[in-house]
Amino acid sequence: MDLFANLLMGLELAINPINIAYLLVGSMVGMIVGVIPGFGPSAGLAILLPITIGMDPVGATMMLAAIYYGSMYGGTITSILLNTPGESATVASTFDGYPMAKAGRAGPALVMQAVASFVGGTVGVIMITLLAPAFAQVSRSFGPPEYFLLAAMGMLTLVVMIGNHWKLGVISALIGFALGTVGVDLETGQGRYTFGSPDLIGGIYFIPIAIGLFGLGELFYAFYSGMHKSESGGLIDYSKEKEFWPNRNDFLSTRWTMVRGSILGFVVGVMPGAGATIASLMAYSTERSLSKTPENFGKGEMAGLVAPESANNAASSGAMIPLLTLGIPGSASTAVLLAAFIMWGLRPGPLFMGQNPELAWGLIASMYLGNVALLAISIFAIPLFVQIIKVPYRILGPVIVVICTLGTFVVHASFVEVGLMFAAGIAGFFMRLYGFSPAALVLALVLGPLAEQALRQTLTISRGSFGIFLDRPASVWIMVVTAALLLILPIMGKIGSRAGKAERAGG
């Protein structure tokens, strides 16, 4: 019964005019971010994080979370109408979404993707409601050894998912850890790598690095890829079609697909490192193998669109569980969310839901409302998003530079941080170009100081013995789960990428 009482309390908090306004703005902005090719939720969150400074934490959290899951809704619109995914998690939606649009069924495809996203997102939030308190309960006994192992788990699972370029992923993560050591050492008070600069005493702040890597780095790479030269030619004009709404058969034939995709997506999303891209590709692959007409996949099959859409939205909800209950982000997007929490003086983890019930349950309740809002927005505001798709990159580019620069400046009114952001942007471009992982760097920058502190505390407790990790049952369990994930995740990644490759080869 506590569960319902908490959820009601969260709803009471979420349903007030200002918070609803933040939620709607976040949903809308998230969709716009999703629509822009090359910009995913991590870029959107990093660029827009400074806007939340000065806001009430509850409203700001709701808005950022809405940007996060809203971008999943938006990314599919370009997949269907332009055959260009807004972000990697919506790649699988191009396989059947675009053929449907070419065949004159863009309207039903757009509506069904919104419905599938809604189902996936809502199933994900229901699972969070049920499971997050249990996760928090289990992790309440965790101490420094477990926190260190969890941070290591977050990093290892991300690096192992990088695949062939894993060495570059390790270097990226280590650079993130190195940046995290800049500033005063909290245990001894000694400055590290400050070189006498007062601006570095407090350490390298996360926001300029995240904005630089995800915002400017991605933008420079988009220009390098020639995206600024392409027009939105090939955009399918759905307004000339006779039927906009899906028929009864579209809903009936895909009802179980949505459920399967949602559950699979959620489970994959909970695992650190796996993420929405793997979830969507796995859901697509699973659905095709279960289908009685697998030969129709890739030619405009509704189940081929619905499965990845429900999965990627459920996965983005699933990724909130380790963030809220363990304080461990499993992806770059949730790392930015964690940094936002820290910026507001909050520390997600086992005690978070108990110590900040209003905020935690307000956020969960807002996700129910956000999914309803996104369902409506993603159906009725399609004409607006089509107009946004038509804005060429050569105009968006300079505007994004302005928002990144001023967004960085307003956080601490520091030109040094603006300089850091530009440096991170240029480094991010080269990292993207040569196969490094900006996500691993950002995750390590967030987790590094926590991991170092936890490791030093652990070795102080154990008087320098690493045997402590084997003495504590919770630590042993975490190591077992980490080992299992390190075995399972590459297999999942291969299944997903095989499905993607097969579809591209077929299409």
Binding site: I51, A178, G226, P398, V402, L406, R456, G464
Partner: protein, 160 residues
């Protein structure tokens, strides 16, 4: 360029590790792990993995050089791509230099005018309108709605 980037990372890593070993203690006086413990482990890790990646890159470069000798010179298209990315980087850094001199609003107008005239060339009217409307919108958002002050100017041209 990949090798140059890896060499830059390696140079930074060696410097980072050198500081960790020379300036930061491994243990504190009380026998606890000191401020140099983590940086030493991390620094050595970057050096080792970067050397490994550098070795791979040199091997790949040698193989592709052998391939290029067979297939002929590389593509000219990549030069244009580098130029476009470098142009935007240059414009962004230029904007960063203009900001403390002219302040948030004026610097943004100047930057947008220059950037759009280069990247979106030929559409003069649209570029001028965007160069005024976008900074005005950004100013309203940050300075008025969010109450977050824009960068101040070294030389105040406009009164707000």
């Amino acid at each position: 360029m990949r090798i140059a980037f890896l060499l830059t990372v390696l140079g930074g890593a060696i410097f980072y590790t050198y500081i960790a070993f020379t300036d930061l203690g491994f243990m504190t006086r009380t026998g606890r792990l000191g401020p140099g413990f983590f940086p030493r482990v991390v620094g050595l890790g970057i050096v080792v993995f970067t050397l490994w990646a550098l070795f791979d890159a040199l091997r790949d470069a040698r193989l592709s050089a052998q391939g290029a000798a067979v297939t002929g010179p590389g593509d000219a298209h990549s030069t244009g791509r580098w130029r476009d990315a470098a142009t935007l980087m240059g414009l962004a850094v230029g904007y960063g230099i203009l900001l403390p001199i002219f302040g948030g609003f004026v610097a943004t107008v100047i930057y947008m005018l220059i950037a759009l005239s280069i990247i979106n060339s030929g559409k003069h009217l649209l570029n001028v309108i965007l160069a005024i409307v976008i900074p005005a919108g950004v100013y309203l958002l940050f300075d008025r709605i969010l109450n977050a002050s824009m960068p101040p100017a070294m030389f105040d041209i406009i009164p707000f």
